[in-house]
């Protein structure tokens, strides 16, 4: 009954040999598409020599849902339900650049209050996304406790999002020219208090204090942990030049020392009215990527607290025609999403829906550096590096 383990005859290999030449001395290891730490259905075909990785080839497309094509047969207000589901960890933030693009083509001036509400909810989406990262990253390198603390803290932010939009992950809250009236709004007799639920300001202040406390706790529990430090410092170093070359964006780019944040460099939302800093890393290693994201949560909480303080009053919806038709033209609007730069290239032929929609997602470009970063790394480092890139497969495959 005993069979010899000839590495060339193992059943798992026949799949891998489709795209990879097999060398006799290296073992091909198929990591994924079903694997606990590939964040979904990413497949990595790794050639390993002992514990050392000689090359890695990511195989994408297991989650391709064809959103760009689907958008062509939908009207503009219907597209937001789709784009919610691209990066499902921060669904709200996905809507913003698309809606802003459509508004730009229609030349609609969005009321300030609506912009503030969008900004607050975007930052909440960023905080919740980074909470997930703060749980998942330590989980991947073996610490099992932070995910429970992170999920508990994230729940407070999601509760707020739900109280305004009615949805925790897929709010579908933005309308062209403004936002929807809130789901759990207070008394309905006066129109001006319908846009945000009763007690929202107070609840937000309390929740943001809790977020700030949570960030301190994470910096202590995760960042202050010696084993975490030796697992992440000087691991997966991404040099500035390589990061720029490959179109990496978001916290990963900033961890490599590039000061690029569309919240400062673009004007899709009124970020220029707030006082906040852009955390920058020095070495571009896994630890920096963790620390940049964690500091960003603190900055986001600060932005939300400031926005609550000087929230303008007024309408939340600009005057738009009943049937939304976007005039002929094309535009590209990009935004700083939790995972990095997200942009929509909209081509309109004057119809009810986009003629063509190109979605630029952060995770897709961000994982393009995997083969470079993983060459020569150890297998446990592969997990740490993948975790620190914080990608979502829905964001990669769309």
């Amino acid at each position: 009954m005993a069979q010899t383990m000839d590495p060339n005859n193992m059943p798992i290999l026949s799949e891998a040999s489709v795209s990879v030449e097999i060398e006799t001395e290296d073992m091909t290891l198929n990591i994924g598409p079903q694997h606990p730490s590939t964040h979904g259905v990413l497949r990595l075909v790794a050639k390993i020599n002992g514990e050392k990785i000689s090359s890695v080839e990511p195989v994408l497309g297991y989650m391709h849902r064809g959103y760009e094509k689907l958008a062509e047969v939908r009207t503009y207000p219907q597209v937001t339900t789709l784009v919610n589901r691209i990066d499902w960890v921060s669904g709200f933030a996905n809507e913003i650049p698309f809606i802003a693009g459509a508004e730009k083509l229609m030349e609609i001036e969005v009321p300030e209050r609506a912009q503030y509400i969008r900004l607050i909810l975007t930052e909440m989406a960023r905080i919740s996304s980074h909470f997930v990262f703060n749980g998942a990253f330590p989980l991947e390198i073996g610490a099992l406790t932070p995910i429970f603390l992170a999920m508990e803290d994230r729940e407070r932010v999601l509760d707020l999002l739900e109280s305004v939009t009615g949805g925790r992950f897929h709010p579908n809250f933005n309308r062209i020219g403004g936002v929807k009236p809130a789901a759990g709004a207070g008394p309905t007799t006066k129109k001006d208090i319908q846009d945000l639920p009763a007690g929202f300001y107070h609840d937000t202040k309390v929740a943001m204090q809790k977020v700030l406390e949570a960030v301190d706790r994470f910096e202590d529990l995760i960042g202050g942990n010696e084993v975490f430090q030796i697992r992440t410092k000087n691991v997966g170093v991404l040099p500035k030049e390589v990061a720029e070359e490959y179109g990496v964006s978001g916290p990963i780019l900033r961890a490599s020392g590039v000061e690029f944040d569309l919240r400062k460099q673009s004007n899709y939302l009124p970020y220029d009215k707030f006082d906040f800093e852009i955390p920058i890393g020095e070495n571009g290693d896994c630890f920096d990527r963790w620390s940049v994201r964690t500091s960003e949560m603190r900055e986001s909480a600060k932005i939300i607290l400031q926005a609550i303080e000087d929230m303008p009053s007024g309408p939340i919806q600009a005057k738009v025609p009943k049937v939304i038709k976007v005039p002929k033209g094309q535009t590209y609007v990009r935004a700083e999403n939790p995972k990095g730069e997200m942009g929509y290239y909209i081509i309109s032929e004057g119809g009810l829906g986009p003629y063509r929609l190109k979605i630029r997602t952060a995770s897709f470009s961000n994982i393009s550096i995997l083969p470079i970063m993983l060459e020569g790394a150890l297998l446990p480092d592969l997990i740490a590096i993948m975790g620190s890139l914080d990608f979502v497969l829905g964001d990669v495959d769309r």
């Binding site: 009954m1 005993a2 069979q3 383990m5 193992m10 059943p11 798992i12 073992m27 290891l29 694997h35 606990p36 730490s37 514990e51 330590p138 989980l139 991947e140 390198i141 073996g142 610490a143 099992l144 406790t145 429970f148 603390l149 508990e152 529990l221 942990n225 084993v227 975490f228 030796i230 697992r231 150890l378 297998l379 446990p380 480092d381 592969l382 997990i383």
Partner: protein
């Protein structure tokens, strides 16, 4: 009582105690981790969740055993037996009182180190025979780790043996009673810490769980196991936790003895005292498990060879010098 009757009774007692202790530690682990993670833990099975480990064990017993096509069947099937035999065998030398012991071997400590390394064979064969690359890597990592941490485990105990002038576990406890202090205070503090670190690595618990590393190797060397064989691996982890902590409390914390209690009643309170000390140590290991990430393979080898082994050698030298001088 004839020798064979006595042996039979002792074996039955050990075979009954070992799973009970494992289930107790499982409960401590699930409840302890729940407490650390601000969640209630098991609540609904039986008495407020307190028979949850039993339900888990029963669940695994009735699960189908799946044996993949390409496995080396006899090796695959027997691998869990090696592991559980090694850990249950260690019950032989754990003294619950001077008389309540399976056998007070003169070479007790030697027996401990010899028997505990048998499990390496089980782990390695499990990883090799599974015909799964993840299992194979887990098995190889486990073998490397078990061999590396065997040394500090042995060397840290040598200090105790020098101080007690005996290898019998009862003799070591009696010596501590004679001293008036447990050895952890009487000069073997460093040895105790080294022993606990090495024991954690031997048990492959976090932060030394690279061989299992569920985020990269799924379940390491026992990925392909299911049903009762999985249960055996799982339960032997907890029996091992109990045994290692019991031995640590015997060698360093005075075992069944507590000051101020009358020594003639030791047969009654001895087992409780030892189990209490054991669970206390186990709780520390559980707290460590739920707060640390895991070391990388090369980092834990570095820790063993460059830190723990030189330190334990120094400890032996210091103990020997103190023994000669005083």
């Amino acid at each position: 009582m004839s020798f064979s009757t006595e042996l039979l009774i002792k074996v039955l007692v050990v075979l009954a105690t070992a799973p009970v202790m494992a289930l107790g530690l499982t409960l401590l682990e699930v409840k302890g981790s729940a407490w650390m993670q601000r969640r209630p833990g098991p609540l609904h099975v039986g008495l407020r969740g307190f028979i949850f480990p039993l339900a888990t064990a029963a669940k695994y017993l009735q699960k189908e055993t799946i044996i993949p096509n390409d496995v080396d069947e006899p090796v695959f099937k027997w691998a869990p037996a090696w592991v559980i035999a090694a850990v249950v065998g260690l019950f032989t030398i754990i003294p619950l009182s001077p008389t309540l012991i399976v056998r007070d071997l003169e070479l007790g400590v030697f027996f401990l180190l010899a028997i505990s390394s048998i499990s390496t064979i089980g782990v390695l064969t499990a990883g090799w025979s599974s015909a799964n690359k993840f299992s194979l890597m887990g098995g190889l990592r486990a073998a490397g780790q078990l061999i590396a941490y065997e040394l500090p485990l042995i060397l840290s105990v040598v200090g105790v043996v020098i101080q007690a002038e005996t290898m019998s576990t009862v003799g070591i406890v009696e010596k501590q009673i004679e001293f008036g202090f447990p050895f952890v205070i009487a000069g073997q503090g460093i040895a105790f810490i080294i022993f606990m670190i090495a024991a954690t690595a031997e048990m492959m618990r976090t932060p030394f769980d690279m061989p299992i590393g569920e985020s990269e190797l799924t379940m390491g060397f026992f990925t392909e196991y299911s049903g009762i064989r999985f249960l055996i691996f799982y339960i032997s982890e907890y029996i091992n936790l109990f045994v290692m902590c019991a031995i640590a409390s015997t060698l360093f914390l005075g075992g069944y003895h507590v000051p101020l209690l009358p020594t003639e009643w030791v047969n009654f309170y001895g087992p409780l005292v030892l189990i209490g000390k054991t669970f206390l140590l186990a709780f520390i290991l559980i707290a460590i498990r739920w707060s640390f990430p895991r070391f990388r393979e090369d980092q834990l080898q570095t820790l063993a060879w460059k830190v723990l082994i030189p330190l334990s050698l120094l400890n032996i030298m210091a103990t020997a010098i103190m023994k000669v001088v005083f």
